[in-house]
Symmetry: C2
């Protein structure tokens, strides 16, 4: 099956494109009424994730509305700890929780190494199903949380503001932290490779909480494990490269180190200009981002202006994938996302030569 | 009254010191049992702030326990919006709230320009009282929130994760945002000058939420107003310079611009190494920081190791004030702060030549 629109894959490999491709983190999400309907019918968020037909349905919903250049399989970043026995659940308004968070060294030593293609077979089934339904229209992105980000939830038992338990572990018992992170890195590698095997054409690692770490701790406890994953991934499948994107929120002081991790592209949050990022890391990797999600709360003409500023900031040439700097928020009017996507479509060809 | 210990003031002006001075953001805070006792006796947090004798008492408490090189007057960053009529109150576990948040353009136009030396006279009284009680032992720091940080609370009505209302204002109605920020900058200037007049020997501007802004928006809506304040401050009083510290959390991509704002020192969070910061901005300003507050949850020997790493990272020479990268958290054992302060005292002379 030849891919009809491969703009994303070309841009991630810094190959020439006619216009800048665009996808949106959390594009299948609560700002869409059809998502809320399917989620409500699913009964629970976990059931939505674990039922391939429903996960496929919500994955495709934003593509029916918007001219997006990629799909991203609908799932949660915490599926891995769930099948390691921590048992993920959601409390409305409080975010994710674990029934059995990590409480001791023994809990880390006894963590199983799950066969993710088996225990997370529902994700692989969703990937296969979405690929079939997409019918080559646009590429499909697979993803995982980073080891550090997974570890924070596993140790804190849920979301945290200060990460006091996770940080006490890395500062007080770094050897134990490395043991946990190593297990997670191996499992994430297997997980992403299984997604690629099932049809994911690019993968993104979400290091949502990398920015909570000091510069030194970031390199030792987060970046090192992402680099290990990158080096273990299947980088070519179905006859073409499978690009790897690292998204480390709040880690803009680490750009050079991230660019040297072996990945193909960096996802950037909105706190750095694309021009500065490009100046700092040159043409080593592609850049993905980075509009402030809050711009989508403003009127369409304001959105268009900020899309233009973002494209200008990257400037001419290859290697830009348009995205927000973080996930789209539930309070966004879907018509405003249309305004963004239309603006990227209309304004971006001027930054690319016809191939 | 000659100051007996002026290490802080010398370090902030990048003059030679025998050892690195240390103070701790939120050093008068909930990790101290004596603070909790006084706060409980005060009846409410607002009463604690508004009663100069009580504010003085909690300001001095950490200095009785620890060999700190500065006091910082106990107050809240939101006193200015309170006396602009928004009426600050606190809900236990939820943080600050305003009874009358900004809801319309009219609310911004009608905001009064308070005479802060009058309406915030209780802060000036606390400053005078602390100076008297300190009796020249160590210098006293005054402070304010930055205009942008104050504006976020005023518009959101309290704390926020996404700052959706405040950001909608800057993106949708930038002129109105500038009107609000300009008023706040003028009031903050008056407020800090009144603190200096009452005896504050250095001042710090807390830009707690600057890091929520995009690079461009940060320069336009936060940094510009801090620079305006800096240019309007009394820079010499009682025959010596009054150093100005800017602390912009999460703004490490902006270091060069911050260093050019006219301030004397930058407070840094822990996500950048001091060596990188120093490499980037050279000797233009002093640096304050930047240990991860979570290090204080580890054992004393771990704390000592990280103090050593932080001192090493800055390296030899003038212009370092030791601090955490953000406020000390309520779960810290006060003995651990002693370990930090002792380590700075013991290890830092090696980085300074005897003057």
């Amino acid at each position: 099956m030849k891919l009809k629109n491969d703009l994303l894959l070309r841009a991630l490999m810094r190959e020439p494109v006619e216009r800048t491709p665009v996808w949106i983190m959390r594009q299948a999400g609560r700002y869409l009424p059809e998502y809320l309907k399917t989620r409500s019918e699913a009964g629970s968020f976990m059931n939505l994730c674990q039922t391939p037909e429903l996960a496929c349905e919500v994955t495709l919903q934003p593509l029916r509305r918007f001219r997006l250049d990629a799909a991203i399989v609908f799932s949660d970043i915490l599926t891995i700890p769930d099948v390691m026995g921590l048992k993920l659940y959601f409390v409305s308004g409080e975010g994710p929780k674990f029934e059995n968070p990590i409480r001791s060294a023994g809990d880390i030593e006894n963590l199983p190494s799950p066969d993710v293609s088996e225990s997370l077979g529902y994700v692989m089934d969703a990937v296969s199903l979405v690929r079939r339904e997409l019918n080559g229209e646009v590429p499909l992105i697979g993803f995982s949380g980073s080891p550090w980000t997974l570890a924070t939830y596993m140790i804190e038992g849920g979301s945290s503001k200060t990460f006091s338990k996770a940080k006490t572990l890395i500062y007080q018992e770094p050897g134990l932290a490395h043991s946990l992170l190593g297990k997670l890195a191996d499992t994430v590698t297997d997980y992403l490779n299984a997604q690629i095997e099932s049809g994911a054409q690019a993968v993104q690692i979400f290091d949502t909480w990398g920015g909570a770490l000091s510069s030194q701790a970031y390199q030792e406890f987060s970046l090192r494990y992402m680099a290990r994953i990158v080096s273990g991934l299947t980088r070519e499948h179905e006859g073409r490269p499978v690009p790897v994107i690292l998204f480390s929120k709040g880690c803009n002081t680490q750009l050079e180190a991230l660019a040297d991790s072996g990945c193909d592209a960096l996802g950037l949050d909105w706190t750095i200009s694309l021009s500065e990022a490009r100046n700092r890391i040159g043409e080593r990797v592609a850049l993905q981002g980075n509009l402030d999600p809050a711009v989508l709360l403003a009127d369409p003409e304001v959105i268009r202006k900020h899309v233009s500023l973002t494209l200008d900031s990257f400037g001419d040439g290859n290697g830009h994938v348009f995205n927000l700097g973080h996930g789209i928020t539930p309070d966004v009017n879907p018509d405003h996302l249309s305004a963004l996507i239309n603006a990227v479509g209309e304004l971006s060809p001027a930054f690319h030569q016809a191939p």
